[in-house]
């Protein structure tokens, strides 16, 4: 059982632009992704807002596979800043996993 840690999102958030919680889980982003990324962005963002850090750390490969092409962001009906949020996640991995 995963325990929600609501303060985790503050560790990931790089800017005021970070708005993963605005997602309403419609799934347009997953359907449209040219890389066919399954967990990005929707599910990884869920892990972030719920503070499931272990789950986030498993997704290093996915987070760095994103092309930042913004196709999902252009089509997001909830106005989620997806690429900005992915950048925040990469910063988090830099600090946490690569210690840079």
């Amino acid at each position: 059982m995963a325990v929600a840690r609501p303060t985790f999102i503050d560790e990931v958030r790089q800017s005021e632009q970070f708005n993963a919680a605005a997602c309403m889980n419609c799934g347009v982003c997953t359907a449209i992704c040219p890389m066919g990324l399954e967990h990005l962005p929707r599910e990884i963002f869920r892990y972030v807002v719920l503070g499931m850090e272990e789950e986030v750390l498993k997704e290093q490969e996915t987070v760095f596979s994103c092309l930042l092409c913004k196709l999902c962001e252009e089509n997001c009906p909830a106005g989620v800043h997806i690429t900005e949020n992915v950048r925040s996640l990469r910063h988090y991995f830099d600090r946490k996993a690569f210690r840079i």
């Binding site: 995963a2 325990v3 309403m24 599910e43 807002v49 719920l50």
Partner: protein, 576 residues
């Protein structure tokens, strides 16, 4: 006996009837019946062309009886009464025979059987029509005064509306103060006007108007009389307890709702820190800055939706309460204004922030509220954690079905609306209550505030869960209906009511208890005897009393003992 002149019209209904019933054969079989002077089929009897044809027949052939065999009387009774009236035939000398819902649609596999049944039904209709006599509506004078029961936001607004139309109003409120639920509310969507301020304004307007009398700590204990002149007993409580009697032409019921009270242990209710939506709203409205509960700071709040609503097929509350998703999201936004760093988790089954409330839902997500979806058969669980904080467990449908534990300082059960316990009032008014316990309207779309009791309308959340603006809108609809009835000064009631033959009545008393409208009462003085008398203005013509009378002294106009007998003979005759 003079022969009658009856016209019979059998409808194809464009095939709805004629695909399964041989309508030509039915007409052939009845056209030579005694008293039938014309019998025709029509593609659509309700069409303008056929209405004109019936009109012409009535005038040219001097018809004194009309039989239309088509759809349910619920659809076109008033259409064909209108045709009769326009052509100079008394509208109560017409019979509607249902050969669609009760014949063609029910027997699509048996053309011969359906045709025979239709013929029998039409013969019964002719038999009834033979014995119909012209009737005139009962006319009653109306008292230009309305009783409003309940001084919540809907009742107060309705009272002001009626007063401004020029009617006198009596408002009766059970509580010591007016304003119902709204009087305790802080800022309300969308303009953040406080509920208490809204009520203050409404109350001031009520008190300014000389034609409104307001009684608080008061209850309606009895209703007698009939539409246009109801006699109502009002009892006041407190220091000056008294009962008074008033006459009113109409009644508006605006008695509101109760909030669902969870059972002990339901989603952890009873554990310190698990509160209902009204309890939470009270805390929020009282808080200046960030929230505290029993002296402890509240940082993490978990909301559990649909508590006491949508309880599956077995629960007493199977309906959606409609307002609660929006109310909970609004509360979350209220908490953000006091404490932007509060962390809020919403555990829901389906979000139903309809209309513009969707914008609040979006705003709450943008401000960081996290939404988790649970399945109906796997609701979240609440328990006290080792550290003394609350823990909510949910299998989140939006995160790959993962089980998640959410630590919380406060758990808010988003409770729905339930009907108010009001047995005494329901008994006094004789108002029908639906299976869900709320008051019932006649027709949800076309007659949304009228009830089966003439002159009694319902509005606000005593009808079904409504928010404040919907309650007020229905209150004003009730005003329109009430005023439309009373401003004419007189009302026409259906004359198809029951009456007692005093020669036959033995005052055995059996019929008194059968009347659901209290229309039958004993009266002294018929040749020195006491007999049952039915008030034609109160009687709704339901016919419940007629069959119980051992003397057959009661006849329902339009369905007399003789007519029922004749109809049975018409139904039972050989078809051949």
């Amino acid at each position: 006996m003079n022969r009658r002149k009856i016209g019979v019209y059998v409808c194809h209904c464009g095939g709805n009837i004629s695909d399964y019933v041989d309508v030509e054969k039915v007409v052939d079989a009845v056209k030579d019946e005694e008293d039938v002077v014309v019998a025709r089929t029509a593609m659509f009897t309700c069409s303008d062309a056929t209405q004109q044809e019936i009109y012409d027949d009535i005038r040219e052939l001097g018809l004194d009886g009309l039989v239309v065999a088509s759809c349910s009387p619920k659809l076109h009774t008033f259409t064909f009464r209108g045709v009769a009236k326009r052509a100079g035939l008394n509208p109560f000398q017409y019979t509607q025979v249902n050969v669609r819902e009760q014949c063609s649609w029910a027997h699509t596999d048996d053309r011969q059987g359906a045709t025979e049944k239709a013929l029998r039904l039409v013969r019964a209709g002719i038999a009834r029509t033979r014995l119909l006599r012209p009737l005139e509506p009962t006319v009653v004078e109306t008292v230009p005064k309305t009783l409003v029961i309940g001084a919540g936001i809907a009742g107060l607004r309705a009272a002001i509306g009626l007063a401004d139309i020029g009617l006198s109003v009596v408002v009766v409120e059970r509580e010591a103060e007016v304003g119902g639920w709204v009087k305790d509310f802080g800022p309300m969507y969308p303009r953040d006007k406080e509920g208490r301020e809204l009520v203050r304004q409404l109350e001031a307007k009520v008190r300014q108007r000389e034609n409104i009398a307001l009684f608080t700590s008061a209850e309606v204990v009895r209703k007698a009389g009939s539409f246009g002149d109801y006699v109502v007993d009002i009892k006041t409580h407190g220091k000056s307890s008294m009962t008074m009697q008033i006459h009113v032409g109409s009644i508006i019921v605006a008695t509101g709702f109760d909030s669902y009270q969870p059972e002990e242990g339901e989603y952890g209710y009873g554990i310190d820190g698990v509160v209902t939506l009204p309890e939470y709203k009270k805390m929020l409205d009282a808080a200046e800055g960030s929230l505290e509960y029993h002296g402890r700071p509240v940082k993490d709040v978990a909301y559990i939706y649909c508590v006491g609503s949508r309880q599956g097929d077995d629960g007493p509350h199977q309906y959606c309460s409609r307002f609660c998703c929006s109310a909970a999201v609004h509360s979350a936004l209220e908490l953000y204004t006091r404490d932007p760093s509060a962390r809020q988790f919403h555990l829901y089954r389906d979000m139903r922030t309809y209309g513009r409330y969707e914008l609040m839902y979006r705003e709450s997500r943008e401000k960081g509220s996290t939404y988790l979806k649970f399945a109906e058969d796997e609701p979240p669980a609440v328990r006290k954690g080792a550290d003394g904080r609350l823990v909510v467990t949910i299998r989140d449908q939006l995160t790959g079905q993962k089980e998640v534990e959410i630590p919380a300082d406060l758990v808010v059960l988003v409770t729905g609306m339930v009907p108010r316990e009001n047995d005494a009032l329901v008994g006094a008014l004789k108002l029908p209550v639906g299976r869900d316990g709320f008051f019932n309207e006649i027709h949800p779309k076309l007659r949304p505030v009228e009830t089966v009791v003439d002159g009694v309308t319902i509005c606000g959340a005593c009808q079904f869960p409504k928010n404040a603006s919907e309650s007020v809108a229905s209150g004003l609809a009730a005003v329109t209906q009430s005023a439309a009835m009373l401003k004419q000064g007189r009302a026409e009631l259906d004359p198809q009511v029951a009456s007692v033959d005093p020669q036959l009545c033995t005052d055995c008393g059996v019929c008194y208890a059968t009347c659901p409208y209290d229309a039958i009462s004993p009266q002294e003085g018929h040749e020195g005897r006491r007999v049952a008398v039915i008030d034609p203005a109160t009687c709704k013509g339901c016919g419940g009393c007629a069959p119980v009378c051992p003397e057959r002294a009661i006849n329902l106009e339009g369905y007399t003992q003789a007519q029922i007998k004749a109809m049975i003979e018409g139904l039972a005759r050989e078809v051949v």
